[in-house]
């Protein structure tokens, strides 16, 4: 009965997740969206089951001498929703990242 309707920013966030930006601040950097948009969208999509979160492995955090970060990834239904939304919004296959450094290295958690 309820059709899941993704806003443009939500779709872009899913897209960023798919492209390897797994942390809140990375997504903000990748999309140029403010934290006030990104975080509530993450919470909402987690509640809707489009994304799932888990805590970063403690060793990685310890190595960098900081607390473990929260890590987001797409679920199966998130992937489906993204495919639909990508068609509608004509999102590019890969997002131009704005961050200066390669992000893949960091997301091998």
């Amino acid at each position: 009965m309820a059709t899941s309707y993704l806003s443009y920013s939500a779709a872009a966030i899913l897209h960023a997740l798919k492209n390897g930006h797994h942390y809140g601040f990375d997504i903000m950097d990748a999309l140029g969206l403010p934290s006030g948009t990104v975080y509530p969208a993450l919470r909402r999509m987690e509640e809707s089951g489009f994304i799932a979160s888990k805590w970063e492995k403690a060793q990685i955090a310890q190595r960098e001498a900081r607390p473990p970060r929260k890590y987001y990834e797409l679920t199966r239904s998130g992937r489906t929703a993204l495919t639909d939304a990508a068609e509608r919004y004509r999102l590019p296959e890969d997002l131009e990242t704005r961050a200066a450094r390669p992000v893949r290295a960091r997301s091998e958690a």
């Binding site: 309820a2 601040f25 934290s35 975080y39 900081r66 607390p67």
Partner: protein, 869 residues
């Protein structure tokens, strides 16, 4: 210095405690990570810190969003706002209809008069063979006061409210005659002066108590007490001022003047000591620890003593007590069934709206099956599973209740503000039906009951599903209990809509029948002016002379074709009452309460009343000649079935007058449109002088200009002459039709609402069930099914619901009709043709809605359908 960390620490207070630590950890970790990456390159600068602070500013929105998650129910409703808006609006409208009808019921029937301890007050009526709510004589007051022990106080108040002209106020005000202790029994304290009328020999009688409103209009003079005011043509001394909180105890009229029983105001002559002069009710305040049943028993016994003491006047008269209400008990009987029917139908409509909302919530609950399963796995109890769903339905119901109450309040306030007018010289009614605390409480209760009512079923089902449903998910969505519940709801809705529509059609038939009723005269183009000669100071002789001048003056008005004078006009105070005795025969031939009017020679011609036999009044019928009467057919037929009525004699009044019948005229409606045919007697105006006279003029068309010109012609004759009411007979008819039309509009509105709700529910259900079956439909289309076949598949189901629902509705209507048909004029207790017509049309409507909802699916190709699933 890390301002962004402090910022997060502060903002974290917004986050619900359960999530707070984790939330803070996530933000801290992100910021720490940022800090370390920056530190890898260089020592953080002021700019770096400012950027981090700016980036963490969104944490406020994040925290607020989590804060709002406490309001889970609101959020999950907001996610499905379209569905919820439809449900809330339709529920809201139905709740509004229920509150409005209950508000009217409350204001008219339940609300006590606004006085101290209103439940202790009772009104004493008398039932007599001719009138079940008869009035008492003022002479009864001392008798009851002396003997009755059930009351701490007993007062008398006049039956009717009288309109008075108060000099300097230029307006007519409502007044009432009361016994000296009336205010003490009611429990009202004076604002100024005293409210107790002086009694005893030599006590002043020309005194008056005024309302605070009138006191203000008289100049708000604190020294008004002891001064005189002119009321009609009498001079009265102001005794006291009643406080603004007391406006009489009548819902419709605000009382501004109270006079004692011995005041001489001409309009109300002083009460003569006669047991048959009855114009009062008694008002009693129950003594402590006395129930109204005990008072009833005592009063009934006392009236039996009176009947034994005065057999000629008080035989068969039995006193009884009723609670004192803002609408007197005799009218309550008229109003109650109609209002009860309205409340009942509104509730039934609410059931339809509730089943709609249940249907929608059921759909929502199904989409949450997965969540339910997870929560069950985590060990949630059934109650824990149901709670969030119930909260949702309650939220929906509260929203609907708020909307409904706002609509209802607006509607009832608008109704109270309607400026009803019964003519220029009658005070406008002050009619207040705005919701009070009782209505508010009922509205709140209604919202809670509705919330639980619409939520329990879906919540129970969704929670049950969580226990075992996961494996049967696919199956359950296309069949099983959910679908059965939906089907039952649809059938209920169709039944409700059919029943309410039958009600509307019956009410419409009632109005139609009233409009078509044979009046026995032609109501078109008649202007009526009621005058009282007495107030202008005419004596009997001068009055008779004035009649001729009056007739001549009105006849001269351009456009007036005929003029007649009579004691009253049909459908508006037409008749007085007399008794008819047998013509020298046994008392069994007696007829009490026979209606009569006193009319002039031209009356029957002016009103277009058919003369069947004999003649009407002529100049030869003078006060000195034989007293003659004209009777109607009904009376003639019942008295002299096989004889010629003309020339027969009748003995009237107390058996002291013998009159001769000179003619028979056609039957008609005299007092109300809905009355049964009744016997009627006409006297000659020439033989019986009347102080109150109605001028009836037939004009060349209907125009307010005629009413004005005729009124002008009358006042030109004598400036002192007051025209009580100037109107057309059509106005009388409109007033007669007002209540039936209002009932019809209420029922029609409810019927339309029920139908609309059913259509919405049906559309949703059909659309939903078809979309659930699209795989099946796709396969059928692939196998060669035509759109016709697919439609047939869906429509068959809709048709079954429609037929079952309409049949139940028709059955209910047929059961209810014998009970309610008496409310509507000319409606038979059994109306099989009308009921089946309504039932058939509701089947047709439901099929139509089913067709519209299913059509898009029937047109699509197999590929499209399969892809959609």
């Amino acid at each position: 210095v890390k301002p962004h960390r402090w910022f997060i620490a502060v903002v974290s207070r917004l986050v619900p405690r359960a999530l707070r630590d984790e939330w803070r950890q996530e933000w801290d970790a992100e910021l720490a990570h940022r800090e370390t990456t920056v530190e890898q390159w260089r020592a953080p600068t002021f700019g770096d810190r400012a950027r981090l602070l700016r980036q963490s500013s969104g944490a406020v929105w994040d925290a607020l969003w989590l804060y709002s998650s406490r309001w889970q129910s609101v959020r999950s409703l907001l996610r499905h706002w379209r569905i919820c808006a439809v449900a809330a609006v339709s529920l809201g409208v139905a709740v509004a209809a229920t509150i409005v009808s209950f508000g009217l019921y409350d204001a008219l029937l339940l609300r006590p008069p606004g006085v101290q301890a209103p439940r202790e007050l009772v009104t004493i009526f008398v039932s007599s063979p001719s009138n079940s709510y008869d009035v008492l004589s003022y002479l009864d007051l001392p008798f009851y006061r002396q003997r009755a022990r059930s009351f701490s106080g007993l007062a008398a108040f006049s039956e009717g409210l009288t309109s008075f002209a108060v000099t300097d106020v230029h307006d007519h005000l409502v007044g009432m005659t009361v016994s000296e202790n009336y205010f003490a029994v009611v429990g009202v304290r004076p604002k100024f002066g005293t409210l107790t009328f002086p009694t005893g020999p030599g006590a002043p009688t020309q005194v008056v108590v005024v309302s605070e409103a009138l006191w203000k209009r008289l100049g708000a003079d604190p020294n008004l007490i002891g001064r005189t005011i002119r009321v009609d043509h009498a001079t009265l001394t102001v005794l006291g001022v009643a406080p603004a909180s007391f406006t009489g105890m009548n819902l419709v009229w605000r009382t501004d003047l109270w006079v004692g029983p011995d005041a001489n105001l001409q309009a109300i002559p002083p009460t003569p000591p006669d047991r048959t002069d009855r114009a009062f009710y008694l008002l009693g305040r129950l003594a402590p620890d006395v129930t109204s049943e005990q008072a009833q028993a005592e009063v009934g016994g006392l009236s039996a003593i009176l009947a034994a003491e005065y057999p000629t006047t008080d035989k068969d008269r039995k006193a009884f007590v009723t609670p004192t209400t803002t609408i007197t008990a005799n009218f309550r009987g008229d109003v109650m069934p109609a209002l009860a029917a309205l409340v009942g139908l509104a509730l039934v409509t609410l059931v339809a709206a509730c089943s709609n909302a249940t249907n929608l919530l059921l759909g929502l609950a199904l989409t949450r099956r997965h969540e339910m399963l997870v929560r069950t796995a985590l060990g949630a109890s059934r109650l824990q599973l149901m709670m969030p769903l119930l909260r949702e339905s309650l939220t929906l119901a509260v929203a609907a209740g708020a909307l409904g109450f706002t609509l209802a309040y607006g509607g009832l306030s608008a109704l109270s503000a309607i400026g009803l007018s019964f003519g220029p010289d009658i005070p406008p009614p002050a009619f207040d039906v705005r919701p009070d605390i009782v209505v508010v409480a009922v509205a709140v209760m209604l919202a809670v009951v509705v919330g639980l009512g619409i939520g329990l079923g879906p919540a129970w089902r969704a929670a049950a599903d969580g226990l075992s449903g996961a494996l049967t998910r696919e199956l359950a969505s296309t069949g099983g209990r959910g679908r059965r519940l939906r089907s039952i709801l649809l059938i209920v809705q169709t039944a409700v809509a059919t029943t309410v529509l039958v009600g509307a059609v019956v009410a419409w038939r009632g109005v139609e029948n009233l409009q078509r009723v044979d009046l026995g005269f032609s109501a078109r183009d008649l202007v009526v002016d009621d005058l009282t000669l007495e107030r202008a100071g005419y004596t009997r002789a001068a009055g008779r002379e004035f009649y001729d001048n009056l007739r001549a003056a009105v006849a001269r008005v351009p456009g007036v074709q005929a003029v007649s004078l009579a004691s009253g006009s049909p459908l508006s105070g037409c008749c007085d009452r007399t008794n008819l005795h047998g013509d020298g025969e046994a008392a069994s031939n007696r007829l009490t309460n026979l209606a009569f009017a006193t009319v002039d020679d031209d009356y029957f011609a002016t009103l277009g009343v058919r003369v069947i036999q004999g003649r009407t009044f002529e100049p030869r019928d003078t006060p000195r000649s034989q007293e003659v009467v004209v009777v109607n057919q009904h009376l003639a037929r019942s008295r002299w079935p096989d004889q010629d009525p003309v020339g027969q004699h009748l003995i009237i009044e107390n058996g002291n007058r013998r009159v001769e019948v000179i003619g028979v005229v056609a039957d008609g409606k005299y007092e109300s449109l809905a009355e049964a045919p009744q016997p009627m007697l006409y006297y000659s105006l020439r033989q019986h002088y009347q102080e109150g006279i109605a001028v009836i003029a037939r004009t060349a068309g209907e125009s307010p200009a005629f009413t004005r010109a005729i009124g002008q012609a009358i006042t030109n004759l004598n400036r002192d002459l007051e025209i009580w009411v100037a109107r057309t007979l059509k106005d009388n008819l409109r007033l007669e039709l007002l209540f039936p039309t209002m009932i019809f509009m209420g029922l029609g509105g409810l019927g339309g609402l029920a139908l609309l709700l059913t259509a919405i529910g049906l559309y949703g259900t059909v659309f939903y069930s078809v979309s659930q079956r699209r795989t099946e439909i796709g396969i059928r289309v692939a196998l060669g099914a035509q759109p016709r076949d697919v439609l047939g598949l869906v429509l068959r189901q809709t048709l079954i619901f429609g037929v079952i629902g309409s049949a139940i509705g028709a059955g209910l209507s047929l059961l209810a009709l014998p009970i309610v048909s008496s409310l509507f004029f000319g409606v038979h207790p059994a109306e099989p043709v009308m009921v089946s017509a309504v039932a058939l049309s509701s089947v047709a409507i439901s099929s139509g809605v089913g067709y519209v909802a299913a059509r898009p699916w029937a047109r699509t190709s197999a590929i499209e359908i399969m892809r959609a699933s």
